[in-house]
Amino acid sequence: MKKLTADKLFRWTATAAGILILGVLAAVFVFLLIQASPVFFGDRAAAEKTISSFTGGRTTSFLAFVGPLIFGTVLASGLALALAFFVAVGIALFISHYAPKRLSSLLSYVVDLLAAIPSVVYGLWGALVLVPNMYPVWQVVNAVFGWIPLFAGPVSNPPRTVATVAVVLAVMILPIITSMARDIFVQTPLLQQEAALALGATKWEMIKLAVLPFGANGLVSASMLGLGRALGETMAVLMILSPGSTYGIHLLTASQNQTIAANIAAQFPEADSLGVSTLIASGLVLFVITFIVNYIARRITKGGGKLTFRKKEKK
């Protein structure tokens, strides 16, 4: 009888833990909403004054304040994803199909090292090492691709620009995409690969025919997760970017964009209570954006079967 109650108690504790997590997440949302509410439902004039002081008098409406920030966030992380994606797929293929078997676990570890380095160290490195060295690179990019509006000049010097930030963000999300892509590529059915090779396909053709189609869903999902990480990254952006609040797309010009996360970290220390509310409201917007991106990623993974579990069962 006594054992039975212990059994029940344990079961309840476990269930309670699960429910508590739901509670915590609800709490995150509710507390943020409560703290953000004064911006929307409080003293109209005071809220407008706060937003006006954040934007240097450019606007008094919350939407006009947060709009360029959303744009900047999406621009910087989208560009980071574009830079990281092909490199990550390349590394994943290198580890799964090109590198000698003995090396591949070591190489995976090297990539994981990239993920282990804290973002503030990337920020420090980006601001003090990368920024002074990127100017010649961007000049070349501008000279070659200047006809594309994204790379139109003027090229800012020092390049504390979205382009430089995107490079750092790309390095940071690289390991996320790589490790997921690698896990998927390794699982490509051996029969399909061998069949392709037996038909006389070159190694690349085999990858194109067997490996990439098999991993397509997973790759999309991996890049979405990487994007989610880039969207919320604060320190690297805060320490590198020269901020601005426009919808400009000139990646090589400074003072065009700012991200939500970096803006929160920059303004928070000197914000009064209404200012904090405004920043929390913008944090909620960021939360919603990352939620959508992550949701899409999970949906795609679910559609492609339970990839993470399949790997474990194989072992």
């Binding site: 002081s53 240097g56 008098g57 002074p132 800012s156 010097n157 020092p158 003072s255 000197e270």
Partner: protein, 405 residues
């Protein structure tokens, strides 16, 4: 069945070393915590250059204090206050003092709630704020004491062209035109005309203006200067935020100087103490050009204090800085930062502390410490002599009301 039994015993064994490791870690941590005492753990012995100079002034701080004291406000004062705290702590070893650089606005608001003894502010108080200070100052209104004056330099980087040592000359109108994008190159005819000596060395290089992206008193001061001296070229109303997005923004003075240092042809405004290694512009004053220095700035404060109306009325020493000065040898761009304090405090402890702190900040020792470690300009002797009696009148509530009656 047998298989799983084996597994079971194996994992029971594997759990043993863990317990041992955990125990070692716990014992080790608690031992190191015990070794290390409490609050003073790891404190540094401050540099004698800070503590010795204060020791001479021992006499004025006979009333010993203890406990924690908090202040908050302008981040511009931070490095000066940090150094002063070390010097003051040498006189009052039993206090723990903190300064939260939350910004002028936030600091004053915290002061008005009574949470801090005094606040640092880059701007003088508005009449409204003075009115609301009655609540926390028990019926009297707040004092404003200028304690920190920082020259604001216009710094540039032309080190590749060997021009960082040669103080490029610029008139206020030229500076305004650069920051509004009307002059964009270092070899602009206007710049050549003002710099006949180095006209040939000025490169055909784009000027990148660098400004503060955060709200700051430095930005407001710099804009006010341009507004007063080049009204035709600088048309925006001075405010704490920078009005355009030409060039690059940077958060905080250190980031501004870092940005300037990272590329050639950059030009920005920054507190003088931070610009070492960069070139500084000699700005046009009258028919002369004056390079920034604490001494030239002290002259400006002297001159401005002399011409400020109602200086010191109700303990408000608001200096109306004469940016448009024509005096020769006076550097015209300076940020004046105030300490906001109450004439009357609820408890005697806070009153004594505030009185001592402000006296210390304005003492010779205090002024030297902030000049050495924060690059500030000294507050003129005459002005300090006017302020000290006012500071001396700070009292606690009971005796305060008696004095009023």
């Amino acid at each position: 069945m047998r298989l799983s039994h084996n597994d079971h015993s194996e994992c029971v064994q594997s759990a043993q070393p863990w317990r041992r490791i955990l125990r070692t870690v716990l014992v080790g941590t608690s031992a190191s915590v015990l070794l290390c005492g409490l609050a003073a753990c790891g404190d540094n012995t401050p540099s004698p250059s800070l503590t010795q100079s204060s020791a001479q002034a021992q006499g004025s701080y006979t009333e010993k204090l203890s406990g924690e004291f908090a202040a908050a406000g302008a981040s511009s004062q931070k490095s000066a206050v940090d150094a002063l705290i070390v010097g003051y702590s040498a006189l009052q070893p039993n206090i723990a003092m903190s300064y939260d650089p939350s910004g002028s606005g936030a600091g004053v608001n915290t002061f008005l709630t009574g949470a801090v003894a005094w606040a640092g502010s880059d701007a003088s108080l508005s009449d409204e704020q003075i009115q609301s200070s009655q609540a926390v100052c028990l019926g009297s209104t707040a004092f404003e004491i200028p304690v920190y004056v920082s020259p604001i330099a216009v710094a540039y980087n032309l080190s590749d062209y060997g021009l960082n040592d040669s103080s490029v000359h610029m008139s206020p109108s030229t500076i305004a035109k650069i920051f509004t994008g009307k002059i964009t190159s270092w070899d602009d005819p206007q710049l050549k005309k003002e710099n006949p000596d180095i006209a040939d060395k000025l490169p055909s290089l784009e000027i990148t203006p660098v400004w503060r992206s955060d709200k700051s008193g430095t930005t407001k001061t710099f804009q006010t200067y341009l507004h007063h001296t080049a009204p035709n070229d600088w048309t925006s109303e001075p405010s704490e935020t920078w009005p355009n997005s030409l060039g690059q923004g940077a958060k905080g003075t250190p980031a501004v100087t870092m940005t300037i240092g990272q590329a050639q042809g950059t030009l920005g405004y920054a507190d003088f103490a931070q610009v070492s290694g960069l070139g500084t512009v000699a700005v046009g004053v009258g028919s002369d050009y004056v390079a920034p220095s604490p001494e030239a700035t002290a002259k400006l404060i002297d001159e401005s204090a002399a011409s400020s109306d109602s200086l010191g009325a109700d303990g408000r020493f608001v200096i109306d800085v004469n940016y448009a000065t024509q005096e020769s040898g006076v550097y015209p761009i300076a940020l004046v930062s105030y300490d906001i304090a109450c004439p009357v405090y609820k408890d005697a402890r806070t009153a004594t502390y505030t009185k001592q702190w402000l006296t210390y900040a304005l003492s010779d020792a205090g002024q030297k410490i902030s000049q050495d470690n924060a690059g500030s300009a000294p507050i003129p002797q005459s002005l300090r002599e006017k302020m000290l009696p006012v500071i001396d009148s700070i009292t606690a509530a009971s005796s305060g009301t008696a004095a009023k009656n």
